[in-house]
């Protein structure tokens, strides 16, 4: 797991059931299985990622998150996690509801569009930001929703979702004081731990 995301494992109970929506190459699931004894499954549609998961011995299910997740029963997982994919969902708010229907808790990470880097990019270049977290041109990007962590908090409160923990990460900005004073400015990736 990425060094900066180690705290996620503190939010996940050992031996619990975990569903990873958009699990990529399965490295998070492999890590949590090895070090945290979780029993996990990942959903993925990218064929190379699926092959990587299989090679790692990670349980991977080929299923499109934009289609129904009806095949998963209510509260059938302890935690449902989604890393860096919410902005690519057709209906992020409905996916969020589904995550909290299937899981007792959910963990979500997303690129913060309100960070100083993206703001500066748009302000000074007058063009849609292409950054490390949002590394696509506007015309060819899986990222179809752009939102800041403040937008996300507003959505949570509208939908009566409890924020158990929040963590803001700025990989290239180590100044914790600035991050705590203006998190929306200095956060590149937001990480939320949620429940109903």
């Amino acid at each position: 797991m990425n060094q900066n995301f180690n705290f996620i494992s503190d939010w996940i109970k050992p031996d619990s059931r975990l569903l990873d929506l958009g699990c990529g190459d399965g490295s998070l699931l492999a890590d949590l299985t090895k070090n945290h004894s979780i029993r996990g499954y990942g959903l993925e549609i990218d064929s190379q990622s699926i092959e990587d998961c299989i090679a790692r011995g990670v349980n991977v299910i080929e299923q499109d998150l934009n289609n129904s997740l009806d095949n998963f029963a209510d509260q059938s997982f302890d935690t449902v996690i989604m890393t860096q994919a919410l902005q690519a969902m057709r209906h992020p708010h409905l996916v969020l509801d589904e995550m909290l229907r299937i899981g007792n808790q959910c963990i979500i990470t997303f690129p913060n569009f309100g960070s100083w880097r993206t703001r500066a990019y748009l302000a000074f270049r007058g063009r849609m930001p292409v950054t490390k977290q949002l590394a696509y041109e506007w015309y060819d990007t899986p990222n179809i929703h752009f939102f800041t962590y403040s937008d996300f908090e507003a959505l949570c409160s509208e939908r009566n979702i409890n924020v158990l923990h929040r963590k803001f990460i700025a990989e290239q900005f180590p100044d914790n004081l600035l991050k705590s004073l203006w998190p929306n400015l200095f956060t590149e990736t937001a990480v939320y731990h949620l429940s109903r």
Binding site: S47, I50, I54, A55, N59, V60, I61, E62, Q63, N71
Partner: protein, 391 residues
């Protein structure tokens, strides 16, 4: 026990080479699901690769409706390899350099293992239509007796497509500690009404042939070739997709033309192809076997004895699972594989599922496909790595 690959002369170098079948008489009684006891039965099988010193690298191949023991390599003098040659062989997804692969013709079939064309010891005549009805679990029980005969304690994997996948699932429930992995390809936990309907049309085609003689055609010295060919033609169309038939044949003519006034009868390429396939099959397969095995398919219901709960059924399994489906397969659609996957997840079992894009219909599981190759090969590569580490 290994088939010794002989000098591979005109044989493609990426195949296992020349192989030959073995025959074993299993002298332990086999009690079938219907209650009939076969005091002994004969099995014909092939093996590819070498069994390792701790006898842990064996894979069981389970064939489908019309399959046989000849899954890979070439028989002497044959130009066509075994039915799963694309995926079994040195360096292939089921790698004969690393695994000892066992492929058996199942009872009730007609390629040398005990079935309707064998002699019923009680009557001294061929069993014919009197061969006892079979369930997929009977095949599993018979395969277990072969496993004992080969002195294998645990399969590294049991692998099958279609009806073969049903056997792999049944293995995981009947002998949970006798397999480490089940690979279930283009399969289902039970047939749909539409599937049963196609099977019944096929059976009726066979039974309508005057040479069927109520199933006693062997005694009468006849064979319902026409009915069996028709049954196969119906089946064959359902194993392909509309798209692949269109691409392969379109509306091309095998003979005749559309010009008004010509007397030549028009025959489309697809007609010619289907007739050829039907005739080829009816000369190679036994009509009673076809009826017997399509019935086995119809009756298969994985969860019936587990309160109709697939998750409750799979709670008994101990192995890991790989599920594979093909997008254009409308006999065993991806939805069926998704249902198996969902039940395994509910039961908390290890499972991966690859939904492969293919336009080849149900037959996709036999045909070359790079994603299928990568998923199956990647999965078994890991199985082999783990076995070799623990050697």
């Amino acid at each position: 026990m290994t088939s010794i690959p002989l000098e591979p002369l005109a044989v493609p170098t990426d195949s296992i080479g020349l192989v030959s079948p073995q025959t074993v008489l299993i002298e332990k009684p086999l009690t079938l699901a219907c209650g009939t006891v076969l005091p002994s039965h004969q099995l014909v099988f092939e093996t590819y690769g070498t069994l390792n010193s701790d006898r842990s690298n064996a894979i069981l191949i389970c064939h489908a409706l019309s399959g046989d023991h000849h899954a890979a390599g070439f028989h002497e003098g044959d130009s066509k390899p075994g039915w799963w040659n694309h995926y079994i062989g040195p360096g292939k997804a089921m790698d004969s350099d690393r695994f000892f692969i066992v492929s058996v013709n199942n009872i009730g079939s007609c390629f040398g293992s005990t079935g309707p064309t064998s002699i019923n010891p009680e009557s001294g005549e061929a069993w014919g239509a009197d061969f006892p009805s079979l369930r997929a679990r009977d095949w599993v029980e018979s395969q277990k007796l072969l496993m004992d005969h080969l002195d294998i304690d645990c399969w590294a994997a049991v692998i099958g497509g279609s009806l073969g996948g049903m056997q792999a699932m049944r293995w995981s429930l009947e002998y949970p500690d006798k397999l480490l992995n089940a690979v279930v390809i283009a399969s289902s936990m039970k047939l749909s009404a539409q599937n049963i309907a196609f099977n019944e049309i096929a059976r009726r085609a066979i039974k309508s042939d005057p040479d069927f003689c109520d199933g006693n055609y062997l005694q009468e010295g006849k064979a319902p070739l026409h009915g069996l060919a028709l049954a196969r033609m119906i089946g064959h169309v359902t194993y392909l997709s509309d798209e692949v038939l269109g691409k392969k044949f379109g509306r091309e003519l095998a003979s005749g033309d559309f010009i008004d006034g010509t007397a030549d009868p028009v025959e489309f390429e697809v007609e010619s192809y289907l007739n050829y396939q039907g005739d080829k099959f009816s000369n190679a397969f036994d009509a009673n076997s076809y009826i017997l095995i399509t019935k086995m398919l119809d009756y298969f219901d994985l969860a019936r004895e587990y309160n109709n709960s697939a998750a409750e059924a799979f709670a008994h399994a101990q192995c890991k699972f790989l599920l594979i489906s093909f997008s254009s397969d409308w006999r065993f659609s991806p939805q069926r594989s998704q249902e198996i996957t969902d039940a395994l997840i509910r039961a908390g079992k290890d499972v991966s599922y690859a939904a492969i894009d293919s336009n080849q219909g149900h037959d996709s599981f036999l045909l070359p496909n790079s994603r299928y190759q990568a998923a199956l090969g990647g999965y078994l590569n890991r199985v082999a790595n783990q076995l070799e580490l623990s050697q």
